[in-house]
């Protein structure tokens, strides 16, 4: 009978047999799985580093500041891509911040539980829409039905429509991160405000939002990072797949860092072109990686500040 009381000695208090083996094996297996994420990080850096180095060490630096981004012709004007990313991201934020933040405030501070129960899944459905779908929607609906109706000079492929598409993609992200931040503000603060006779709008704008501001900043930064990293909407709707002249006109076509990477790889069996065409893809990839990494680290700071506060 294994459950009889046995005399106590050091031997008896040792864990042996299958249970001990399972415990040790489990620990190593789970650790390896977790450690794999560090390996993946290493794989990303490694896959970017080698060709980026080739590019940086061999490129003629004068080609980095030309009239446009035409990698197959040896013109690597980085500012074209950076400005393209910047413009679409600004447009995206102009769409996503008011809508996402508005939805978040509504859900956290105004909505009845029953309304919230419908709204939250709706936003999750929106969050689940693949970006290719938004790309198609931006090209075939937002561009002709919205942008070209409002601005007669707009071309079929334009950065404004692409930016709006990216913005729609990031609405759920802004909404959910902001809502989490506001819901983590303790109710005692709201009660204190109402207790002094404050109206709801003053409570929201002067108590809840300031208390949640770190989380709201985090939401904005995460959304910017996501918008900069979004590829397919711009790839499909902003045109300029072969390359792009430097342009700050959001009503015309343009190219972002992400779309430049995808364009170079798309449609051909091999990435071909002049000398460093292939390597330029990795160079842009590194730039994109570092930029989003920086934004994510900053956002992480802000998120943690919220956690520490409450």
């Amino acid at each position: 009978m294994p459950l009889a009381r046995t005399p106590v000695n050091l031997e008896a208090l040792r864990l042996t047999g299958r249970r001990a083996v399972a415990e040790t094996l489990g620990r190593y297996a789970f650790f390896s799985a977790a450690f794999f994420s560090i390996i993946v990080s290493g794989m990303i850096v490694w896959s970017l580093a080698a060709e980026t180095w080739t590019f940086v060490s061999q490129v003629d630096y004068s080609t980095l500041w030309t009239d446009g981004w035409f990698p197959r012709r040896g013109m690597y004007d980085i500012k074209t891509l950076v400005v393209g990313s910047l413009l679409t991201t600004i447009v995206a934020m102009l769409v996503a911040v008011p809508l996402g933040l508005g939805a978040a405030i509504y859900m956290s501070e105004y909505a009845k539980p029953s309304v919230r129960k419908v709204l939250k899944p709706t936003l999750e459905v929106l969050a689940g829409i693949p970006s290719v779908v938004l790309g198609f929607f931006a090209l075939t609906f937002i561009s002709p039905e919205v942008v070209q109706r409002l601005f007669s000079g707009a071309t079929q492929f334009n950065m404004l429509a692409a930016g709006i598409g990216v913005g729609i993609l990031t609405i759920p992200l802004v909404a959910s991160v902001s809502e989490d931040a506001m819901r983590s503000v303790p109710d005692t603060l709201r009660e204190a405000s109402y207790g002094m006779g404050a109206r709801r709008v003053s409570t929201v704008l002067r108590v809840v939002v300031p208390a949640a501001v770190s989380g709201l900043v985090a939401a904005l930064i995460i959304a910017i990072s996501r918008a900069i990293g979004e590829t397919m909407v711009v790839f499909i709707a902003a045109g300029a797949t072969g390359g792009s002249l430097f342009s700050v006109d959001v009503l015309g076509p343009g190219q972002t860092m992400t779309a430049a990477i995808a364009s170079q790889a798309a449609g051909t069996d091999q990435v071909v072109g002049e000398g460093l065409t292939f390597q330029s893809l990795f160079f842009v990839g590194s730039l994109l990686f570092l930029l989003t990494l920086l934004l994510n680290l900053v956002a992480d700071r802000f998120v943690r500040r919220v956690r520490q506060k409450y």
């Binding site: 994420s37 993946v40 990303i44 508005g102 709204l119 779908v133 990293g229």
Partner: protein, 318 residues
């Protein structure tokens, strides 16, 4: 004021208080604010509605027509003779890779982080790595796939296709959604009440026995929700597949569901949608819309399953 009022006028004072408490307060700013919130919410919902209505109406003709051919046919040069058979097969296999590789790996990593890891430099490095991986743009994962699975390991992933196979795509997307699975599974594990763990330890269970018998069953619905959302994300991704070399034009083969065909060239639904989006004319737009409806049905079904699971789980707990 009222405090200094002589008692003779207390009737008047009571009247003032009553009117003060009962009068409908006009608060134009508060009203305006609330209305603007409604507008934000309605606009968001409306966008979703318009989007779905738009693709369904455009794609309906194609789907209602010869659906069989459209769903099983091969890629073609004309909208009439183009079908999604090869694309659905590619998307199916990507899903298989994610389920087989990412789910166990991600859940195991989450178990380590929540149940085993102690504070330490390596462990905090691991969690920082995971959080950052979750924010890396998908196209960068595509570069990883291109460098490692297509170029470096091409002889393994697809010797006859320069590594541009569904194996490379599946591996790339499995890595892409790994942080999502880890983060959501870790959240689900964190929500398990500590009393359950203590109860297990209190009767002499090992860490693994506590996790297997009590923690995992309790967290299972939450973990499942996260994994299903990650799966949906993988099925909808297109950018990494472009880098890994999904075929956008014609594709010979790529129809067989036999494992042998895994190392042939491939395509997938999001790639087909992306390519067809760029083709001119109403017919291509209709086919693209129809393909989008197919992709959305797959992705929504997964998300819906996740939402239903979570709601049932939350109801069961309270």
């Amino acid at each position: 004021m009222a405090l200094s009022t002589p008692s003779s006028s207390s009737v008047r004072a009571a009247e003032t208080v009553r009117s003060g408490l009962t009068a409908r307060q006009s608060d134009p700013f508060g009203r305006a604010f609330q209305v603007s919130l409604w507008v934000a919410v309605l606009a968001t919902v409306a966008i979703l509605g318009v989007l779905i209505f738009d693709v369904v109406t455009h794609g309906w003709g194609v789907l209602a027509g010869e659906t069989g051919d459209f769903l099983t046919g091969r890629l073609g040069s004309q909208p009439e003779n183009s079908g999604l058979g090869q694309a659905i097969r590619g998307t199916f296999y990507i899903g298989v890779f994610v389920v087989v590789l990412t789910f166990p790996l991600g859940i195991a990593a989450a178990i380590y982080l929540e149940e085993y890891a102690q504070h330490g430099r390596l462990n905090s490095l691991i969690s920082v790595a995971i959080r950052n991986l979750a924010g890396v743009p998908s196209v960068v994962y595509g570069i990883l796939g291109l460098t490692i699975f297509v170029k470096a390991l091409g002889s393994v992933t697809g010797p006859d296709a320069n590594g541009r196979t569904v194996v490379s795509a599946g591996l790339t997307l499995s890595i892409l959604v790994l942080p999502i699975v880890i983060i959501t599974a870790a959240e689900a594990l964190r929500a398990v009440p500590n009393g359950i763990r203590e109860g297990g330890f209190g009767v002499g269970a090992t860490r693994w026995e506590v996790v297997r018998s009590h923690v995992l069953p309790y967290a299972a619905p939450g973990i499942l929700t996260g994994t299903v959302i990650a799966l949906a994300r993988a099925l909808g991704e297109a950018a990494p597949l472009i880098l890994v070399g999904a075929t956008t034009g014609f594709l010979t083969g790529g129809e067989s569901f036999l494992p042998d065909s895994l190392r042939e060239r491939f395509t997938a639904l999001p790639i087909v949608i992306s390519t067809w989006s760029g083709r001119p004319g109403e017919d291509w737009a209709a086919s693209t819309s129809a393909a989008i409806v197919v992709l959305l049905v797959i992705v929504f079904a997964a998300n819906l399953a996740a939402i239903v699971l979570r709601n049932r789980f939350e109801r069961g707990r309270r």
